[in-house]
């Protein structure tokens, strides 16, 4: 979707301000949101659906809230959409009915993988034969889907070169919407800075971005 999250190329947010001696988390609640999201995600939906839940936030809320507030908003949205919580329970904080799954805690050895986030997305099934090879000239399609996509606006319609063929990977545009993984070839595509940003950009500079085959046409 063409949302505020798709911000590559905007210059309205001011300078970057690195924080000296930044703590890993700025508040105890951020740690808990992190842990709850990582633990809950696998049971609620895919990582792609989680990203899309963040993208669906009210844009003014998205822009005015912090990273872990985004996570919390997505966790709450998916918990309701997947029927784990009712909107009333979310509003009141009082469970009307306990869950049917009464599984015990995860085995300790399962925790590191959960914390790392997700699972590898490369696949050995699906569309395995790449249409493009390294060096091929391609054009990013001018697609404007209303659902989840990982094709940012700033490359749409632009011409680039295949820099690397990564293999076959889960397709986020379907995987975020319960339409399955539909794995297909993924490429690293190189665009010159001038192709993306015009003649004022440095002639020496390039942008590399990972794009799925269905995002690309031969140039």
């Amino acid at each position: 979707m063409n949302g505020v999250h798709d911000m590559g190329g905007m210059t309205c947010y001011g300078p970057v301000k690195p924080e000296e001696n930044e703590p890993i988390f700025h508040a105890a609640w951020e740690k808990r949101v992190f842990a709850m999201t990582m633990l809950g995600m696998g049971q609620l939906d895919t990582l792609d659906a989680f990203r899309h839940a963040i993208e669906r936030m009210d844009p003014t809320h998205y822009l005015s809230s912090t990273y872990y507030e985004h996570w919390l908003a997505a966790l709450e949205a998916l918990a309701v959409e997947k029927g784990v919580l009712t909107p009333e329970e979310l509003a009141t904080g009082v469970a009307q009915e306990t869950g049917k799954r009464a599984e015990g805690p995860l085995p300790p050895e399962a925790i590191p993988a959960v914390v790392q986030g997700g699972a590898p997305c490369n696949r050995v099934e699906g569309r395995l034969t790449p249409r493009f090879s390294v060096g091929d000239q391609v054009q990013a399609r001018n697609l404007n889907p209303t659902g989840h996509t990982r094709l940012p606006r700033y490359v749409r319609g632009k011409n680039g070169t295949i820099a690397q063929v990564h293999g076959t990977f889960v397709y986020p545009d379907t995987n975020a919407h319960g339409q399955g993984e539909q794995p297909q070839p993924l490429y690293s595509v190189c665009f010159t800075a001038q192709e993306l940003w015009g003649p004022d950009a440095a002639a020496t500079d390039d942008l590399y971005i990972d794009l799925w085959e269905d995002y690309l046409d031969p140039a």
């Binding site: 970057v16 809950g40 590191p112």
Partner: protein
């Protein structure tokens, strides 16, 4: 100017009120999700402990090895996960990883414009600036200006390569080995490899004379 006196300066205005609100809200959500059987309090505690223990040290160890061992570096550039596995690190659950090398003529820098994808398995939790609107929005368009804000000025003839990690493909920058680091032990070299140098917004530290 640094906001040392304002530890919550990254939060919106009325940080104290926000904090209280979120502490309460997160407490309530956690209680609900435990009640529903989605997670347990033990799981949450152990996941927090696991995350707290992560740091960029794993990444620094990998880079130091690449600096001293050309064969390892070639392996790392060709198949980063497989190379890292040879160090005895369990990479089975990692996303695919790509290592890119800074040279005297090429400088690489990593961003995720659409969200905040980051090689957490190697570098721990991403810093706030990496997740910030200004970094995500600007570094693809004006990388040299953004790098200057980190104190890194690059000569005009250096090729800047920005990597926008849109897929579940993580990027690790191999910074240039600093001058004057000849003869240092691998452990001493790893201490020069900062988190920011592995994202590509700074160089590795120079050894103290």
């Amino acid at each position: 100017m640094h906001d040392h006196d304002a530890p919550d300066s990254h939060l919106p205005i009325e940080a104290d009120a926000e904090l209280t609100y979120y502490e309460q809200r997160v407490e309530a959500i956690q209680a609900l999700l435990i009640e529903k059987g989605l997670l347990s309090a033990d799981d949450v505690r152990r996941a927090v402990e696991d995350m707290d223990a992560r740091s960029p040290a794993v990444g620094a160890r990998v880079i130091a090895r690449a600096w001293v061992d050309p064969h390892f570096k070639q392996h790392l550039l060709a198949d980063a996960k497989a190379a890292i596995a040879t160090l005895g690190i369990d990479v089975d659950t990692w996303s695919t990883l790509v290592a890119v090398e800074n040279t005297p003529t090429i400088h690489n820098v990593v961003v995720c414009t659409l969200c905040s994808c980051y090689p957490r398995s190697l570098l721990g939790v991403p810093p706030d600036w990496y997740k910030s609107l200004n970094y995500r929005a600007r570094v693809v368009k004006e990388p040299r200006t953004v790098l200057e804000e980190f104190g890194l000025e690059l000569a005009p003839d250096i090729e800047v390569r920005v990597y926008d990690s849109t897929a579940d493909m993580r990027y690790l920058v191999i910074p240039q080995r600093p001058a004057g680091s000849e003869g240092l032990s691998e452990e001493a070299l790893a201490a020069l490899v900062t988190r920011d140098s592995m994202i590509g917004v700074t160089q590795a530290q120079e050894p103290s004379p």
